[in-house]
Symmetry: C2
Subunit: 368 residues, 2 copies
């Protein structure tokens, strides 16, 4: 899912997203609740109409943002009280209020309110948090059952598994959520600084419990490598700022690795970012031109590289689906790693292969 935090995928037009077959984007309840606010979204007839977006929207609950962006938050069994990062105003989110915000905003998929712990987290703290998140999930489920979608399309509610890097707490969380019978399940609280192998280990633990017939969503992940490794572990859905954020910084993904387009090596490189890519940027513009746009601080640089990177990510997932259908996923994955470098982070101009060890390194992608 491309990230449309505030009701826009940064620097990319809605018709361009449709053009690259983006069928679902992520929006953020915390951000949209604060600005433009639920009153505006309600009068607009929901977020789809407000932002002119015909395909699907998943709205994150805002739990992660309350814990990462807002000041002076206080958490009780009831919910979380916080001060807006925009104007300092005081607000409360409860499991019920977040479901009701989802009814007003009208995303196709809404996430329950959860508590997202920092890494590392004390085991006792994590145990308490998991159980409270489960009680919040139950309250969310009840509120969801008592309320109705407003805009003539179905809405779905996903639970969020927590438990830090404690396997037994992850199991406890997943089991309780499965009992509550959500439409889909997210794996939250990862990609927050833990070693990569812990992320994969927790994903394995949780996916052994989550039902195969419902979508599994690994939140805030990740690099091309993270995606393929997680797909292999049974994950269906991802969101990540990397394609758009790196795009705005002039970093492009390609089938042969990463390009830092600001670099002087591209000054007279009149080839496309990725000769195999079918996006507007690659069909019409050269690395040299895009480097110039970056140097000259032209907005078009953000537009072109963001669009290209999203095209690359959607291509990666399309090819992944194809390989799964054809039963060739394992081979496709190794071949892709060989071309991209693991993590997709080998620079196209590096002669040596990038180091493959990621132990102890923080993944660079978190929910915006």
């Amino acid at each position: 899912m491309p990230i449309g935090t505030q009701g826009s995928v940064k620097a990319v037009e809605q018709r361009e997203l449709e053009g690259i077959d983006a069928r679902i984007i992520l929006a953020n309840t915390y951000h949209l609740y604060l600005r433009p606010g639920l009153e505006v979204l309600e009068k607009a007839g929901g977020l789809h109409r407000f932002m002119g977006w015909r395909n699907a929207i998943l709205a994150d609950s805002g739990g992660y943002q309350v814990f990462s962006l807002s000041d002076l938050r206080s958490i009780t069994e009831d919910g979380v009280t916080f001060h807006s990062h925009i104007d300092g105003s005081k607000h409360q989110f409860t499991p019920e209020s977040v479901v009701n915000a989802g009814r007003i905003m009208g995303p196709d998929i809404m996430m329950v309110l959860d508590e997202c712990l920092d890494y590392p987290a004390d085991r006792e703290r994590a145990l308490f948090s998991v159980d409270m998140t489960s009680r919040w999930a139950e309250r969310s489920r009840e509120e969801f059952a008592k309320t109705a979608a407003r805009y003539g399309h179905e809405q779905y509610l996903f639970g969020i598994v927590q438990g830090s890097v404690y396997g037994d707490l992850r199991e406890r969380s997943a089991e309780r959520l499965v009992e509550l019978d959500f439409d889909g399940y997210a794996i939250g609280g990862l990609s927050v600084g833990e070693p990569l192998e812990e992320m994969y280990r927790m994903t394995d633990v949780v996916n052994a419990i989550l039902p195969e017939g419902k979508p599994r969503y690994l939140m805030g992940v990740g690099t091309p490598e993270n995606l393929l490794e997680s797909v292999e572990r049974g994950v269906d859905l991802f969101d990540c700022v990397l394609p758009t954020r790196n795009g705005r910084n002039g970093q492009a993904f390609s089938r042969n690795g990463r390009l830092t387009l600001r670099n002087a090596v591209y000054k007279t490189d009149f080839t496309p970012i990725d000769p195999e890519c079918s996006c507007y940027a690659c069909r019409n513009f050269t690395r040299a031109y895009i480097r110039h746009l970056i140097q000259a601080k032209e907005v078009l640089a953000l537009q072109l590289v963001s669009l290209h990177n999203l095209t690359f990510y959607l291509w990666l997932m399309e090819e992944t689906r194809k390989a799964i259908r054809e039963g060739t996923f394992a081979a496709w994955k190794s071949e892709t790693f060989a071309r991209l470098g693991r993590r997709g982070n080998r620079d196209v101009n590096d002669s040596a292969t990038a180091p493959t060890s990621t132990t102890g390194r923080r993944t660079t992608c978190t929910v915006q």
Copy 2:
């Protein structure tokens, strides 16, 4: 002509410009000579190929930018020496070097190097400047005749009339340029702070001399009112940053006046910027959504309002051409002023008519 100073019309894609039938854009020799530089543009096969633009380009000589942007310039009969506003490096432009830069960049129309005086300018200084600019024009004409277009398409050279606000100097300048027989003629050194009626008076003086069968280009102008008043005085071609610069500041033009989209009055206004406009922004998005994008500092705001404003300006000129062909220009002009407010600057939400006097006010549009 939309402004593409550095080889990109800010926040608007080339395919979008084609989509709104922008047949010619302006680029700037001073900016492109400094960055990416002539070597890159030459290797790219010219500016059209570098920026992926199939329609026409007019390249301003850079004279105006040398005088407005660069530091420590010194002017001699030979040309002008200046320091780059980017890195302080020292450069010289001569009439010949600017023509040769035009041969390398390959715009369809190139402008001669001229001296653009500030307002007000002393008469003696202006007389000297006009004569030097005419001598530079002659040298440009000779260099142009001695050199050839490189990229398989014709190139045209326009002279630039100077003379500050002195009618006799403007006549002297225009007469000399007409003797030199350029492909078209620009009226430069206006829209630099002089009263608006002086601008129109000079335009009248010059257009009485310039041949009717060749294009007349009023540089750096202007508001919708400026355009229609100048068309009435015989001008054919304009360039102006207003649609894109105001677009980036969230100011939209419309058939009913100007909208400051940041204003709270648009918070729940779910109508398009201009209900009669056919642009992508007006067909798909509301004032409320665009206001939200501006508040949230989303890049999409720049994209949508810039695209809309360019669509508005091109519509204004298309309607103007139609009215001229049909012999109804005078009526069309009054009707349009009645709707737009003179200067096109009445806010849509003003109940009173905006003041029509512009005496002593600086026009807000100059070449970027």
